[in-house]
Symmetry: D2
């Protein structure tokens, strides 16, 4: 493998330009080709990056032997075919979230990448922010004690999408963060939600996720809210977190609050529950752009043969939850088992 | 009936003193007796209101022919017996929320009050705030257009209760507000939640309520949150409301935001959804203490023979939802039909 | 001196009832008499505290040999005469802020108290809050480094007063806090402000206070603001504080932010100024009601013969600044020397 | 004059790229040349705008007969020489704020532009935001009644500048907004402030500005604050405004609050002051980027021969206040007359 990882980017719409801009500034990476089926977007790409090859034919990137890795930033319905073709062409793959439209597809991609010993990474961008990494570290080092709940709200007057519902558009962020910071996986989901525009997918949804050990998670997403909210509460037996992504600097606040139990083995009725409130603390966060940290990690995994933090299995788990939540939502909250251990096995 | 309504108050713990203080200042009302089984609370009542009779025997209030009405501010498990006895003794009744522990009990009280032509009112206090009345009026006069969703969060590091779960303690407020401001009743509920203290009732819960006509409601309640939140979003086709009860003055904000549809009967794929954002407006609210407004309304209903806004049926509807939500929560979100029309018939 | 300190309270209008309520619950203190010239206020006091003597004649409290201390909660114009008479009658004195209307009066009271070895304390209530004591401790233990500035805003749509301007009404709070938490005293003041109602005192004012050692303080007070603000910034070379008294719990936030200097003795042009940002921390505060802590301190000082934190000198310093600021304001910001060392000598 | 206005931009450091980017997208304008003395900045400009001429020699832009207008985005100490040379070369001029370092220089530029009938515009960017234009319109149409005060805070942990103090760096924004929205000009200023780094200019400052008719303005600027604040209060006899530039959408809030006077001609002591609180209203704002609106206005003024809103006189008024405030600050608040009518005559 050459010193430089040559990258081809498929899709130059909303997210593609961010991928290109970040890879352009990462040492050891080089964007050599960009494809999109809209010529006007390619013209824009060409004027900004005069040395990059542009094409409307994405298959030409897969055939190019100088390209080591493919980044896919196209609509979700095309992820599977493009990623599979790229893997079959021997390219490492970074694919936008959600990874695929079904868990079967996700499993097929994982299998293909394993067989060929290629890096398969899903662009769960938030996982690479300083805020989420800090929360992961706090939980991993047991500073919150046992985790009691994970509650997230992500609402605003957002763009309605015609091809996916609000869960696939917004909850995917919360699920990827949750999957990274929590120490265990949910075993079932119950979801509710409806559409307010006839013929369109659901624009408001609520997901409850069940875990072993008294942990519950809940996600509220809404494309039709008057105000923007991006707030997650994480409750633990020792400490609790408020993560507000709209705060300009103090995004993560850690509260030394909780309950204390003065139990009595003879009778739960004699259980005394006390309240504990202490200091609040907001740690300084690494403000590196998430996509830069993610790009560096992708290059690093390719170079060293490491497994990415947001690997195919992480992508699969999220897709499986999205799938099950959509199914539950159609049945007004019916509990759907996730079987994440099985699907990921 | 005498010019003055003489009131006996049963229960002088947390809420009773507020009832007494407000009735003491309402023209046409007079608190003549207070009962509580704790003598030290009666001593406190006596020192503040030297002319009031105090007793540990609540039945003596029911036997007192000079008492016109009984206000009950005791634990919920005692509401039914006390209210039924008071009605049977010919007294008008104001009972704390939740009205009873079962919907059967609530129906029995309604029946008894109707038979005896007595006022039966439930103390859904928030319904009498300026903020909630303003929201009711805005919705009733169609200023929000069609109602799309009602989403409420009521969380904080609150007192754990041993006898009722967090739904009966906190969601009762949201349900009574929702019941008052929305134009229709839910037909089913799906709820999730768990307990984090062995042997104690659930301390975190999520309720989804289903209505006809594409309306959904959701309530999040939590006794174990690091921060206090009291926020409701109400989305409509024309306007949307943010109601934040922690704001000192601008509790209700009305956003002239929404979506516009440029539909096409031939194909939903040609549906264009546009976004509309306009002014925000926060109306001046009546700042009268809710309990004073409620007390005046109670006296008014007794005097004029009117039906209270928060009558027995309103109380019954809330109890029925609490009951069903608790049942659903035990079964991890299973949909429970409410049959509110039947129970209230 | 008896075991109990018997207290007479003069003035039962706005603040008097708070004094009485707190002293009533302090071990070792007993309110035995209350005077006010309005009989209806005395009736209210009597009904709440049946065992207290009430009178419209304040001089009868001074003559009462069983009374050890007098608390004065009357308009500022009456403070001097009442406090002087109380001291001459051999009573310890707690007087509302501002202590007097002139610094000469304040000096006279200090002299009288010293001569008679009596406790003279000024009710600078905020000094006894957990928030202000925490800030005092942080500064006293050098955790902020050198103090650079003290900036306070106290504005709202407040009651216009006819007898004193907004400086005497609102800035007195900021000055008493500043006087307690800062390590040194200002040497001069420049103030601006105007009245918006003909014939009434100034309702908006800005004070700049000059200290040695590059420390500056500024206070903005306004009776005619659309929103309520109670916010103080304290900048230090090592850390900075934001104190927001309207925050329900996190009133004091400490920012590990500042500048770092990489100086060069040869040339200021080569001075490099770097920026430092670190964690933010909000310590748990003692939530004891300030007036209770203050009352305990008053009783303690009487019992042990100690000097109060907010002694006559502290009161005098504040009055001197108020006096000078009012003078400066009349002359559109003219610098007025304070000579605090002299006046307090 | 050609259909297109050809623009040369001098200075491609912090602000220049924003000017170029906006002019590049304005119909009727074309950036043809860019100069900067740093070749690496020119290289960046060239790669983004391949067709633009770049040079380290700014005088070559002045000599270029195809250039109609010069935009100057260099340090303030160079503004006068560059602008004068550009005017003498017959070019229209858009110059960064502050316009010049002295009011004499500003007057000289105005004179030169008038003589040659050229547009001289100062880049007071905030004047072209939707928020500031809305406030201007509300005040101009008397919706606030008489204006009582203008109070602005602009603080954060900002870049220390070595050549100008914090007034010239930050207060210039507030003064240009104030100058645009208020109906009259101040006649005198009193300012205080200090430097916390030896040998460096003042990093914290407070300005009080005096107007006729009981109007006062105050500006607080600080490079060394732990939090960022951008908040202006404008008080009027009928309504009041809170303008918070950090709010993502509701930047301008209008409060229907104030006082009501029930005067009595015989005695001010009988003046009764009542309080009035009504609705709050936050109007939708034009979200066009200010620099785009400003660029369009510049082109329009050139094309039609109109006088810009932020003309040389506006620039001169701000420079005169900055000058006087710096002088006052050196003398600890001494009142300095502004004579704006004279300087602008």
């Amino acid at each position: 493998m050459a010193n430089n990882i040559n990258i081809g980017v498929i899709g130059y719409g909303y997210w593609g330009p961010n991928l290109v801009r970040n890879f352009a500034e990462i040492p050891g990476a080089k964007v050599t080709s960009i494809s999109d089926f809209k010529p006007e977007l390619l013209a824009k790409a060409q004027s900004r990056y005069p040395s990059v090859k542009v094409t409307t034919d994405s298959s030409s990137l897969l055939k190019d032997p100088t390209i080591d890795a493919i980044a896919i930033a196209t609509p979700v319905s095309t992820h599977f075919d493009l990623a599979l073709a790229a893997l079959k062409a021997g390219k490492h793959v970074l694919v936008e979230k959600p990874m695929t439209t079904t868990s079967e597809q996700a499993m097929r991609l994982i299998e293909e990448a394993e067989k060929r010993n290629l890096v398969l990474m899903v662009d769960h961008t938030f996982v690479y922010t300083g805020a989420v990494r800090k929360m992961h570290d706090l939980i991993a080092t047991k500073q919150l004690g046992d985790i009691y709940y994970y509650d997230s709200v992500r609402v605003n007057l957002g763009l309605f999408q015609h091809d996916v519902n609000v869960i696939w558009d917004l909850a995917v962020h919360d699920l990827s963060i949750m999957n990274y910071v929590l120490p265990s996986q949910p075993y079932a989901v119950s979801a509710t939600g409806i559409s307010h525009v006839a013929g369109e997918p659901e624009n408001i949804a609520y997901l409850s996720l069940f875990f072993e050990n008294n942990l519950i998670a809940h996600i509220h997403v809404n494309w039709l809210a008057p105000v923007k909210v991006r707030r997650t509460l994480i409750g633990g037996s020792q400490r609790m977190i408020v993560y507000d992504d709209l705060e300009p600097s103090e995004k993560v606040k850690i509260y030394d609050k909780g309950i204390t139990l003065n139990g009595n083995s003879e009778s739960v009725y004699q259980m005394l529950i006390g309240y504990r409130t202490g200091d609040m603390w907001s740690p300084k966060l690494d403000m590196t752009e998430a996509l830069r940290a993610e790009g560096l990690h992708f290059i690093d995994c390719i170079t060293k043969g490491d497994r990415p933090i947001t690997d195919g299995e992480a992508g699969l788990r999220i897709v499986r939850i999205l799938e099950a939540a959509t199914q539950s939502m159609k049945q007004q909250g019916r509990l759907i088992e996730l079987n994440l251990a099985e699907v990921a096995a």
